[in-house]
């Protein structure tokens, strides 16, 4: 398959998934409602920590509420949780049919997942940024940072979807991936900076975080928005390396799973 073919194939999957999601239903309104509550809870709780001090872990109060808004807004775009259907199709045997398709599995997967992310950028991220802005939580970054921020979101979504895929691929060997799913959710909600910005972590935990992929999902773009210490370009560079690494890993694991199916039967 040629490179342009791969891209157009991925794009077709993205378009279909996007169309499917674009039916803006009641469930999305109620999801948005829920996200808004979480946004307020987190913002007020962390703001309360600044009662007697101006800076925690190098972040001031304006930065922290912006951090909460941006991370909450992009939570669904860069998901840490969710079924992507691979484990179900392994269990049902449908995977044998997917394997027989001539298209590249990981590319098609990423294509359709990017469709989902694009939908949530419009349906969740934008409204939540507006809500955060109206609530006075949001400080905008310098205009020049925005393109880098968007690039960082794309890379973060890429990595997040690969993590979800890897979780489900574990069902090739484990039967049920539920245990792995929860285990990963635990680590990702702490080390993606969802609970607290990683800047608040003690030095040893920050060091540990650097060796985990989760920091590259929600935390990386959010830190770009609020002005990353390390410099925005290096953040995106590190993300890119992780994305390449994880893509290769996903392909390898998928091939191994495929052999598993071929040997033992679907």
């Amino acid at each position: 398959m040629t490179g342009s073919h791969v891209v157009s194939n991925g794009w077709a999957h993205a378009r279909i998934a996007l169309q499917r999601q674009l039916v803006y239903r009641f469930s999305n309104w109620s999801g948005l409602f829920t996200n808004c509550f979480f946004l307020y809870f987190r913002a007020y709780a962390l703001r309360a920590c600044y009662e007697h001090r101006d800076s925690i872990g190098g972040l001031d109060v304006a930065q922290i509420v912006t951090y909460v808004t941006v991370s909450q807004a992009f939570l669904m775009v860069i998901p840490a949780w969710g079924k992507v259907g691979v484990a179900d199709s392994v269990r049902s045997g449908q995977i044998a049919i997917d394997l027989a398709r001539p298209t590249d599995f990981v590319t098609c997967y990423l294509g359709s997942r990017f469709g989902v992310s694009t939908y949530y950028s419009v349906a969740r991220a934008l409204p939540l940024l507006v809500v955060g802005g109206l609530a006075g939580f949001l400080t905008l970054p310098p205009i020049g940072v925005l393109p880098i921020f968007l690039l960082s979101v794309v890379l973060a979504a890429w990595i997040a979807h690969l993590i979800l895929l890897l979780i489900e691929l574990s069902s090739f060997w484990l039967g049920s991936e539920q245990g792995v799913r929860w285990l990963v959710l635990g680590f990702s909600s702490l080390f993606s900076g969802l609970i607290l910005p990683i800047d608040f972590f003690p030095a040893w935990a920050q060091m540990l975080s650097r060796f985990l992929p989760f920091e590259q999902t929600l935390y990386a773009p959010t830190s770009v928005w609020i002005g990353a210490e390390a410099g925005v370009l290096s953040v995106v560079g590190v993300q890119f390396l992780w994305a390449v690494l994880l893509t290769a890993l996903a392909r390898t694991v998928f091939q191994a799973g495929r052999r598993e199916v071929l040997v033992h039967g679907g």
Binding site: F33, A48, Q178
Partner: protein, 271 residues
């Protein structure tokens, strides 16, 4: 009526026992999932500890006091969730029409739906919460007397009642629409997230919702203030302590009424 209730509870009990037996037959994946869920709540707690490396108190509540709040929220949400996993099947029961079978059973529809499945692995959250509460109570070296034990126990019961009520209301909603709605998550999981910290730190309008409309905040904050001997800027104690069971009971009653309304709607409508 009392005899009926005893019979119903026995039926419910045997359904739960069967559901537990079923889960135990896959012991490996059960243990793995329990472990996974423990990790989630465990690392949430680690997050709290990281935060308290930087601050001494949040809204006047110290580290161990906030851990107490966090632990109680986990216990109550976890138990409320575990008791009501049977509701997960509601959209499917309504959509497929199999709810008809629920209504031809010799025990109340609510108990039958609840008894169909009780997922023990969800208890991971409660276990973790109980551990947190235990640790912080021993650390704070509270003066233990009958009164505070009673307060603690009733606080758990009230909290579970409110969360169970919310899950009940969200199941009852299926009688009107089976479309999945996350709206109730704002109050269940959102409520637990909110009451991880003292409710006094939230803005008025938000706090009022969680004190007086969906009293997740009320049943968390008021007993905690009283048990830990905190000063209360909201003026809800000490009278609130006596009202807490009433608040929880009334909320659960409203949710039960909503369910009843849903069942009546189903009984009036065609298949």
């Amino acid at each position: 009526m009392g005899a009926d209730l005893r019979v119903w509870m026995r039926m419910y009990g045997s359904m739960v026992a069967a559901s537990v037996r079923e889960q135990m037959s896959y012991r490996g994946s059960f243990a793995f999932e329990l472990l996974g869920r423990l990790t989630v709540t465990g690392l949430e707690l680690v997050g709290l500890l990281f935060l308290f490396e930087h601050v001494d108190a949040i809204a006047g509540w110290t580290k161990w006091e906030v851990i107490y709040l966090y632990g109680m929220a986990s216990i109550c949400l976890g138990l409320g969730e575990a008791l009501t996993t049977g509701f997960d099947a509601m959209p499917e029961l309504i959509r497929s029409g199999s709810f008809d079978y629920v209504l031809v059973r010799p025990l109340p529809a609510l108990l039958f739906v609840l008894g169909r499945e009780v997922k023990l692995r969800i208890l991971g959250r409660s276990l973790q919460g109980a551990l947190a509460v235990g640790l912080c109570l021993s650390h704070l070296m509270l003066l233990w007397d009958v009164g505070s034990v009673l307060l603690l126990v009733s606080s758990v019961i009230c909290g579970v009642a409110v969360y169970a009520g919310l899950f009940l209301a969200s199941a009852a909603q299926c009688f009107w629409t089976v479309e999945s709605t996350e709206m109730f998550n704002a109050f269940t999981y959102g409520g637990a997230q909110m009451t991880e910290y003292p409710v006094s730190l939230y803005p008025d309008w938000l706090r009022s919702i969680f004190l007086y409309v969906v009293p997740v905040g009320f049943v968390s904050y008021v007993p905690a203030v009283s048990l830990l001997g905190k000063s209360d800027p909201l003026g809800l104690t000490p009278w609130g302590v006596w009202v807490t069971p009433v608040v929880a009971g009334a909320f659960l009653a409203v949710c039960l009424f909503f369910w009843r309304l849903g069942v009546r709607r189903y009984e009036g409508a065609g298949g």
